[in-house]
């Protein structure tokens, strides 16, 4: 099945790339050939007194539609690893390759484009813009490269419906509950069909019901677009929902 799709993509992509209007209809999920390879990753922090080694020899490999949960005690470097994968932070050593290319070699502008197209973020604190409605918050990543076109508005509407907030698309974040806000954050992270979705304690502030609802969305929606998912959490239950469960121990990833 994968080979067929690959074949199809090889034929279709050149056509649609010259006719952008087809993109909304025929676009093969960006994660079609996605592959994340983390090799020998390390991260150190330099303070005035000492060098703090947070990550050392981290290895990780993921394919499209894979999802991984990472657990570990507070301060062990889970979020640091996530931010490095999301290119918000730089590694001290090792490589991160997404589809064979190292994003840390990109210029600042290219890196921004890379993040916009390839990475999706879900934070513990939803980071919704309080001045924007649900729909506008979801559409916000579209503004990074221009304005929201019809395709993206369509997709935003779909995602809002998918996260169960169709009735509340015009509401402001202040009019939503914590769970609802986090669902908006999920929808926002998926707007541009990222190859890699990174969730940092996505249920950290939520109750059990909302945690379950978010977990369903997290593991269902990305796989629809064959997006890879990395979830960093303290929640054992949430971690257990992932196909692959890892723990960050002794500065490197180990199977649970």
């Amino acid at each position: 099945m994968g080979a067929v799709l690959n074949n199809l993509a090889n034929r279709v992509v050149p056509v649609v790339s010259s006719r952008p209007e087809f993109l909304s209809v025929l676009r093969v999920p960006g994660s079609l050939m996605s592959k994340l390879v983390v090799h020998n990753l390390s991260k150190q922090f330099q303070s005035t007194a000492e060098t703090l080694h947070v990550l050392e020899g981290v290895e990780l490999e993921m394919q499209a539609s894979d999802n991984v949960s990472i657990v570990g005690p507070s301060g062990c470097g889970k979020s640091t690893l996530l931010y490095i994968l999301g290119t918000l932070d730089n590694p001290t050593g090792g490589t991160v390759e997404l589809d064979g290319s190292n994003p840390f070699k990109l210029s600042a502008k290219q890196l921004a484009t890379f993040r916009n197209h390839s990475i999706g973020f879900i934070f513990q604190d939803h980071h919704l813009l309080p001045q924007l409605s649900v729909a506008e918050n979801v559409l916000l990543p579209a503004l990074a490269q221009g304005n929201a076109n019809d395709e993206l508005r369509e997709r935003a509407a779909q995602l809002i419906a998918d996260v169960g907030l169709a009735e509340r698309s015009r509401h402001l974040p202040s009019e939503l509950s914590g769970g609802e806000r986090q669902r908006v954050a999920v929808a926002r992270a998926l707007l541009n069909r990222p190859k890699l979705l990174l969730a940092d304690e996505p249920t950290g502030n939520l109750d059990a019901d909302n945690t379950q609802r978010i977990a369903e969305l997290l593991f269902a929606l990305p796989s629809r677009d064959e997006t890879m998912l990395v979830v960093v959490t303290h929640s054992e239950w949430l971690a257990s929902q992932a196909k692959k469960q890892l723990q960050l121990k002794d500065r490197c990833l180990q199977p649970v």
């Binding site: 484009t113 916009n116 559409l139 916000l140 990074a144 490269q145 929201a148 508005r153 509407a157 698309s169």
Partner: protein, 1243 residues
Amino acid sequence: MKPAVPMFTQWSLVRRSLSFFWRTHATLALGIAVATAVIVGALVVGDSVRSSLRGLVLNRLANIECLLQARTFFGAQRLDGITNGITAGGPDDAQAAVAPVIYLPNSTIESLHARKTLRASGVQVTAVDERFFKHLAADAALDFPAELLEDQVVINAGLATELRVTVGDEVTLRVGQPKGVPADNPLGRRDESSKSIPRQKVVAILPDRGIGGLSFLSGQSVPKNVFASLETVQDVLEVNAQVNAAFVFSDHPSQAVGDSDASWCDELNQQLRPNIEDYGLKLERHRREFPNENETSDQDSASNASAASDMVYDYYQVSSDELILDEETSAALMSVLQAHRATRQITYLANSIRKVSPLAADVNPARTLASIRAAEALRRERRRMEISVEFTVGASLGLDSEPETRMPLSREVPYSIVVGVEEESSELGLPSHVAISDEEIYSPYCWINSWLAEQISAEPGDWIEVKYFQPETVDGKTVEETVVLNVAGIVPLTEPARGYQRSRPAIYDKPPSVFNDPNLTSSVPGVTDQDSISNWDLPFELKLKDLILPVDDVYWNNHRLTPKIFMPYRTASSTRWFGSRFGRTTAIRIPAASVDENSIREEMEEALLATRGSHGLVFRPIRQQQLKAASGTTPFDMLFLSLSFFVIVAALLLVVLLFKLGIQKRTSQLGMLAAHGFTTQRIRGTLLRELALVAILGAGLGVLLGLGYAKLMIVGLESWWIGAISERFLSFHYAWQSLLIGAVAGVLASLLAITLSLRKLSSASPLSLLRGEDPDAMRTRRKRNHVSLWLAGLGALGAMALIFAGLGQTGMARAGSFFGSGMLLLASALIAVRQWIEAGAFRSNARSGGLLALAWRAIGRNPSRSALSLGLLSVASFLIASMGVFRVSPSASGYGGFNLLGESAQPIYQNIGIASVRSEVIGQEAGKLAATSIVPLRTRRGEDASCNNLFQVSEPTILGIPDLLQQVYDLAPGTARFSWAATENPDRPWTSLDGRGRGTKDDPIPVIIDQNTAAWSLKQGASLGAIVQLDIAGQTIYFRTVGLLSNSVLQGKLMISERHFQYLFPKISGYNTFLIRTGQFQSIDMVSEVLENGWGDVGLDVTSSAQVLQRMLGVQNTYITAFQALGALGLLLGTFGLVAVQLRNVVERRSELALMQAMGFSRDRLSQLLTLETALLLVGGLLIGVLCATVALVPYVIETGPQLSVLSPLAMLAGVLVVGLLAAAIAVRSATRHPVLQGLRAE
């Protein structure tokens, strides 16, 4: 079900953010509004000043477009029909109309009030007739009575108030005499310089605005105006139908510079054809025939001459009402008359003549005529050199004094005429009367007439001694000179059968000679019209009356002023003899044989056109000139922008502070945007779009506020700051361009400030933004610390260097040193304090415990905010603390110890600095002035170039400084002297004026100016050696600065040496300005009263120098006051900014404060803590500023001693401190009212 998702663009995001954060944006917009308001306000003040000055000009000139103001009186009929066919170049095709008037700008007026005479000098008397009323615009004429009858006057309100007169009261006018023989000439009148027009009834009082404020000088001060009847003034001045000025009215007068076509005046000038009488000249024909005709002096009788008669002489003669033709006029006339064999002559009065034995030195072989002729070429060259140095060494160079006396060999013949004639004059044929050889004739030589030869038994080769007064008086006194002349020959004089009678010339029965010609002497009123020498009415005493013998009266009876001595013109016209600064020619003689009177008249009038500028016989576009002067005034917009500089800076710092406070709330949002792929540029672009809209809104509000601010400043200028503009004349006016420029400047300045503070945001990583970290706190501290500390150290070193450099400096150099060192110190201090805060100094203090420790810690919490607050406050307090030092009080060095300043409306020709002269004029009263020193200064009146005048000055008043001024200081070394900003000769500064100079570009005249006048009014010559270029009476004159006075009473004037003054303005006689120093125990009031009463008829006005100086320094002091007031406003703004910052702190720390409350802190104690934090920053900021100001002022204190005026700035700073603390306390109290639980929930 999918929801409908609306369009979402960048602008949607901007719109949403704008409305969501409206409170933050509103405060930001307010900050921008303040900055814009200050800029707009300053520009509008500039608009208002320019517009008000323009309005003043338009108002006071009514519909007068051009002005002719002649130096002499001319026939009013010359103006008839001159405007026919002339229309202005503008679209309205305005029609011109002319009104001849007599305009006497330096008159005096007196009124009697409560039996006391009130006198006002410097009054402008304009004598008008029906033509003035006919052409004056109807709205301006409204205030006038329908007609102005004889003995009726109209005055303006200011003058009426000064004289305390109302309609129906009578006043006496004293006006200047028409020009005659120059008063500095021994034959000039010095005893009477004004004429009285008594019992003039005031029939109307005009408002000072409008035609009542008529003035042709560029200045905003209200003139004292009197409008009188033209006929009355003409009668009193005995000028028949003559006038000395003309106003040209337009029915569509120009309203702005460039409105009127300049060619209008040119056309009028082309139409105006003055005749030679208008230049004060006269052309007469003198002819004598024998035996059938008597001597005649007019053409009518000449035309009746019989063909059978022998012509003795027949020539035309051009002479001047002023006795002497000035050099310009003489040269112009000779340029056309030379072709008609015209020759020049100079006539002079010898006091006595006698035959003497020569001294050995007289009989010098090198001085024989033969030697002289042999070296004629060389002599010509020497003569040219002599002329070139004459004006630099001046007329005071007398003839070589002869210590030895010559033995008299005859009686002294008193009061005789000597004439210098050009030897080439073939009519007189003097060379043919030489009876001895050239080797026997010694220079200087002469011919004497046969009558004189007989009287003193002189023969060719004999020597005669001639005594005469120097052609220029010295200090108003005549000085007698004695010279000897070698008699080269004797010319014949025929005795008439019957002598002269008042109305009939002498009658001859024997042929008279060409030397029987009394017309060789120009007519002198009081002399040529008298029957006897004894009756001569001369301005000096005829001390030799006793020498007059009957035979001398017989000569007078038979020959009148027929010259007894004839000299070569070249010798006689030299300034070593009878030539002077007034001229070298008394008449030009043209043989009548080959010329026609009409044709030479025309030729002369054509030639004289080149000189009419200096005679004032030209129309000048007075309205355009004044409009230009009004528009080129002190740039008040720039001035107020500078004065408001700190308010603008404070407002912009406030904008930055408010922006930072706003953006810090949104840091994590920005991080989220970066995480989702927004580039830094896009984030910044989105923010700038949002803020640009805020800035536009703020600027719009600022424009409205600016209009109010400008109104407030205009109210200030018209009241508290009246010293800056002298007169109340301002009205509110704004130009749309100013509002637009102000708004754009406000937007751009705010956006620039915001963009600069956004730079740090750009360099922050998305992750740190996501975490909500303050971008200001994100930095590589160690690196920055080093750079900053180096910068602070270098700044402090630079400041010290500037402080040392400022020692001994004055003026701008000192100001530069002060501000440079102050600002460097301030910057260094602020950098150091910031580093101190960042280094955790405030945190370590927390260990000591207590509220103070907690407050210290809070300050260290946000170093950037704290440092910005400190900076805002310290800059303001620095300015307020230091500016007061530059306030100046009048001191004796401002007026050089001369505690009184006198100015007379009409010149005083005598030197009233001499006690004996004072006694002669005012008798016993002069005894009261025994210990008073008076230095009279020659004055060419011009415009006031002091800081009191807001108009652009082109022709400032020029003073001629006599040697006496320096001598006064030399004789009394301990007395107060003028304070100098710079001088070429620190020991004897006034002698710097003595250098040579002819006023050309290559050879400028040395000049001393007040530094403020040079820097601000003239905008040239503000440093030693600098060249000042001025157009005076149509001639460009160059001056070289040799001294700069500092804050002196002579502000607004140019000072040159008296000799250069006389060279530049030969026609100005007498003195108008007087520096007066009272004796040690003399009362200023008594001295003023004696002087004003003694010389009241010439309008001498004596004022306290300290008062005059106070008024002049008032401008500078007022600017300092305004600067301080605006600085305080800025400081207040800064204080409110600080309070806003603290409030923001309270909001940020709400949970922390709630926790403290939960732990038992009372609300009062929390308020105290927060107020203490504000107080620490407030006091810290004020202290840093005051300390830096104190250090920067060290050079000033070292040089002038501790005379700092500290009270006013301290009071101002204390006021700001109190207001700041109150505002902080109130704000904090309201902010801490939230319930504890709400605060804890926020956590």
